[in-house]
Each structure stands twice: as C-alpha cells, then as structure tokens.
Amino acid sequence: MLLFIINRLIQAAGAVVVMSMLVFIGLYLIGDPTAMLVSPEANDLERAAVRQAFGLDQPIWMQYLTFVGNAARGDFGRSFLTGQPAMQLILERMPATIEMVVVAIGFAVLVGVPLGMLAGLRPKAASSKAVMTVSILGFSLPTFWIGLMLIMFFSVYLGLLPSSGRGSTVSVGGLSLSVLTPDGWRHLILPALTLGLAKAALIIRVTRAATREVLPMDYIKFARAKGVRPRRVVGVHLLRNILIPIVTVTGLEFGQAVAFAVVTETVFAWPGMGKLLIDSIIILDRPVVVAYLVLMVFFLIMLNLVVDILYMAIDPTAREKVRD
C-alpha cells in the first residue's frame, strides 16, 4: 500500500513536470510576453532592456528552469493589477470555491445516487424514465443557463434568494466560510445548486448504469436465494458494488467542478478563484492565470491520487492487484 502511494507520487511528479512544460510553452512562448510588460510606444532599445531584465533573452531551457525554480518557491510573479503575489491572491480566494464545490457535490451525491438506483432497479417505471429524461437535460444544458434560470425564478420572480455575493461569513481557523451562517447559506444555495444539478445528472447516469450492470450478477441472485431481506440486498450487496464506480466518478468530478466553478462564480458573482481567473484572463493579468493553472494541475493530480486510494479502500480485488 505504501509502495503503491510512493509509486503514484512519483508518477504524479512526472505529470506535474509535463504539465508545467505545457503551461510554460502555452503561456510564455505563444505570444510575446514582452508585449505585456512594456508600453506599446516603447522603442527597440527599451524592449531589449526589458527582455534582458526578465531573462527573456536567455535560451528557452534556461527560461524554463528559471520559471520552474521560481514556481518551486511558490513565486509566480505579482499580479499586474494589484501588485500582490499571484499565488497568494488565488489562495485567498480558494476557500470560497472549495466551499461551494463541496456543497454542490454533496447535493449531487445525495440526490444522484438514490435516483440513479431507482432508475436502475425499475428501468421500465414512468418515474425512472422521467428521471432519465431530466438527467439528460441536466447533463447537456450549459451550467450558466441553469444558473440564470434559477436566478430568474428564485431571485427575480419569487424574490426569495440573493443572486450574487457570498453573504456573511464566519472565520474558522483563518478560513472564512459561508456555510456557518444562515445568510451565507441563502447566498450559497443557488450557486451550489447550479453546479450540483449537472453533477447530479452525471451521478444519476453512472449509478443507473452500475446498478443495471450489477443487478443481473449471480451474487445478487444468490443473496436473494439466501433469503436476505430486499432492503439488505439493495443497501449492502448492490450498493457496496456500485459504490466503486460512483466514488471514482464523484472524485474525478470534484476536480471538474472546481474548474467549472469558473462559470458558476461568474453568474453569481461568487468571490472564488474561478471568478478571479476570468477577471484575470479578461484584463490579461498573466501571472495570476499561470499561478491558477499550476495550482489546478497540482490539485487535479493530487485528487487523482486520493481517488485511487479510495478506490482501493472500497474494492478488495484492487488491493490484491496492487500487492502483486
């Protein structure tokens, strides 16, 4: 087990190196960073001075090493807009995003797994067909569209819930959280619902497919032949098996949801790191974009590792394979 984690960490490190190269090539070589750093009226001499000052006259591999060296120390430069270190800016915004995503994924699992099991257990029932049809919509309608419709209904038409901002927060150990105040919840519900609906639709589909796959298995029929109560057949024999794909997908979707928070945060003016990314992209605040990307890559790779470990915890046959 420990060997497996070490092995995966080495792979993860490799992935970080590859991704850092891609990010570097993508952002530093395509398009001329000098254009970002000097005023358009600058003459060639001034440009050359800037290039030298920022090391842009060095060979590419030197530039890359400098970038990596700085990145390793958490130094991604300062925001063009505020002058603050880019990474610090993002880390400040991160709790808001994670908070929203956790609530959204929690909602998606609580709604998606039971509905998916229902649809899988009774595929011909009208209710199951309705669930599947709605899930297609949740799956294919764009997130921002769902957000707008929710705002239109709950904020504009009913006037029940606020359409933007985070509401009052409580600081816990340096993290400010909305989930601890009623006002924070009122602000959190719509963005989290928006993000969660699409994920719920996906989890419904995964759960249903897994249920349909496990249900005809001999061990389900054997459990019934033992006289095990239907509730236990579904709640233990079926659930423990379908949990394997559900946990895997949910874990990976957590990463997707953090990325997709970009959209939700824009719609609801939620002050998370996704909103920061969009703002930075629009005003071409490149250090912030780079810092966000590197952080995200690191986050996704770590998430993959966590999902793998979870997967082994719930699938005994996977543990065996690792031992071999």
């Binding site: 054997f222 019934r224 033992k226 006289g227 239907p230 423990r240 098996n241």
Partner: protein, 335 residues
C-alpha cells in the same frame, strides 16, 4: 427411499410436490416455454438428479421452486407444495422466509456467487440472521461450525477472507456451507461442480452426499452430466425441451433406459467398456423452445422415431413409479 407402494400414499408424506409446472418467458420474438409441464415428487432426504442439456429447462425448474424467476419470465401455471405449504400462494415475505430457510440453493459458478466486496463472515452471518433471531456471535459460531462440516481447514482465517482470496473449490464449499447454515429440508444444487477441476468435483460430490445423508436434507442436483449423478442420486429425472421425459431410480435409468434420449445421454458418457471406440453423440441440436412443433420434441434427432411421434407422447407411468414419455420406448411397451 423409493416408494414401491402406491404413488398416492407416497405423495402425502412427500417433502416437495410439483404438478404441471409451467414457466414461460415472454420475449420480443415470442413466448419461450422453458419449463412446460413438469411434475416432481420428492421424499424427505431423497436425492434427485435432474439431468438435461443446456436449455432443457432444468435450471429454470430449480429457480421456479424458489420463486426466483425474474421478468420477462413467469410461472404461468402448476402447483408446488413444500411440507404441505402451498408455494404458489406465498407473498414476497413468505418467499423470502422459504429461501435459504426451508430450501437453499447452490449456484453453478463459485467465482460469481459470492459478493466480491463483502467478507465471507458477513455473507454467512447475514444468511443466518435473515431467518433466525440470533446475534452476530451466535451466527458466527454457526458459520464456523458449518465450515468445519464441509471440510474447510482454519475456518476463522477463511471467515476473514474476501472471495477473491480463495480458490474455486474453496468458494464452492463456502457456498455449500451457506446453504447448510439454516438446516434446510431441501437443497437445490444447480450444476455446482461444472466450473471446478475434475479432482475437486469428485470430492465435493462425495461430501455433499455424505452431508445430506447425515443431516437428512433432500437434494435436487441439476446437471447436464449423467455420470455425475449416477453415483449420487437415488432417482434420476431426465429433462428435454421443458419436460421430464423419463423418470426412475438411478439403477433403472442407467441399466435400462426406456427413452431414446436417455440412452443417447448414457452412450455419450465415456466409460471403461467404451474405451478405444468412438464416443457416441446425439445427432442434431436442442430445439428452439420458441415454437416447438407438435408432438415429441426429440423426434427430429431420434433414431427410433415412428409416425406416432408426430402426436404428443403420453406419460406412461409404471406401477413402480417408473415413467417415460415415448411412443416407441426401448425394450418395447410393457404389458
């Protein structure tokens, strides 16, 4: 075990009595009559071999007895009584109490019957707790006891294992142990040795017979292999295309088959006397159960077919309980 007195008197004390069982599957192509009029009488502690090719309906018969037929399949008619209890009148909870309590089942492929993500102890304990009001420790003790009964060494270690950590033979022994947990009156074993190595097959058959005799459990052993049940069963029922075509004591069936299909099955079993010669094979294939033609379903493959075979063969029942469905039985019709 085999009643030589009148069948009626025997039926009264029978453990299981099935009459005219029909289990059909409504598919898009039409109705598949998997089981089409099966009668089985089973005495307490009796071992019956239910033999037939794949698709003959033998497994479906087994599942029908436990009410485990899933849509599109359905038991369309027939009566089933177990210990005087009318099974066709059972509700879902009644069926649940029957399954694993009164009647247990062992499946074909031991690599598929145990839940891969649950430990053996959980799978054994739940089998007991589904039927008896016992705590975990009591159920665990019983699980340990039956594992020893089926010949599993170091049962405590096995109870802590996951199915994939055990060999196929070990898993099937555990499935047998689970079947024995609640001391059922009847065990239905659906080809339980087919997926195992030949050496383990013999052991399991031997132990199974010993255990059933010891505990007094009746057994229906479903198989496609006549040789397997020859040394195990008291009586043999041969199934073909959803019907029992011949029934008799094991000795009579093996020594003196009346139905040409039974003879075909016997001839296709390799034995010492047939060594060196070509093995016999029944020509043709199992007919599709979708649109069975009128008359004897075997007549297309039968070397003894006569004109009368175009009509439905009657079930000839001899005074000693021997029965067969054939217009032209081997050895000629008895007076």
């Amino acid at each position: 075990m085999i009643g030589t007195n009148s069948a009626r008197a025997q039926a009264a004390e029978n453990l299981l009595s099935i009459k005219g069982l029909k289990t059909h599957f409504a598919t898009r192509a039409g109705v598949v009559k998997a089981v089409d009029g099966v009668d089985i009488e089973l005495a307490k502690g009796e071992i019956l071999g239910l033999v037939g090719e794949s698709g003959s309906g033998k497994s479906i018969t087994g599942f029908s007895i436990l009410g485990l037929i899933d849509p599109p399949g359905r038991v369309v008619s027939g009566s089933m009584t177990y210990n005087g209890k009318d099974l066709t009148a059972l509700n879902e909870e009644g069926w649940r109490q029957l399954r694993g309590g009164d009647i247990a089942m062992i499946f074909q492929d031991p690599s598929m019957t145990l839940n891969p993500v649950l430990r053996i102890d959980a799978q054994m304990i739940e089998a007991m707790q589904a039927h008896a009001n016992v705590n975990r420790a009591q159920a665990y003790a019983r699980a340990r006891e039956v594992l020893v009964m089926v010949g599993i060494p170091s049962p405590d270690e096995r109870l802590r294992s996951y199915p994939h950590e055990l060999s196929g033979g070990m898993r099937q022994r555990i499935a047998i142990a689970i079947a024995l947990m609640n001391k059922p009156g009847l065990i239905i074993a659906d080809e339980p040795t087919t997926a195992l190595d030949v050496s383990i097959q013999g052991q399991i058959i031997h132990e199974m017979k010993k255990l059933c005799r010891q505990v007094g459990t009746a057994l229906i052993w479903v198989t496609h292999d006549l040789a397997v049940v020859a040394g195990l069963a008291d009586r043999i029922a041969v199934m073909y295309a959803g019907r029992i075509v011949e029934l008799g004591t094991t000795e009579e069936i093996i020594e003196n088959p009346r139905h040409p299909y039974t003879k075909g099955l016997i001839d296709s079993v390799p034995s010492r006397s047939t060594r060196g010669s070509r093995l016999h094979q029944i020509p043709g294939m199992t007919p599709s159960l979708l649109n069975l033609p009128q008359g004897c379903a075997f007549r297309e493959r039968c070397a003894y077919a006569v004109a009368a075979c175009g009509d439905e063969p009657l079930n000839t029942i001899e005074p000693d309980g021997r029965a067969y469905r054939c217009w032209n039985p081997l050895g000629g019709p008895r007076p």
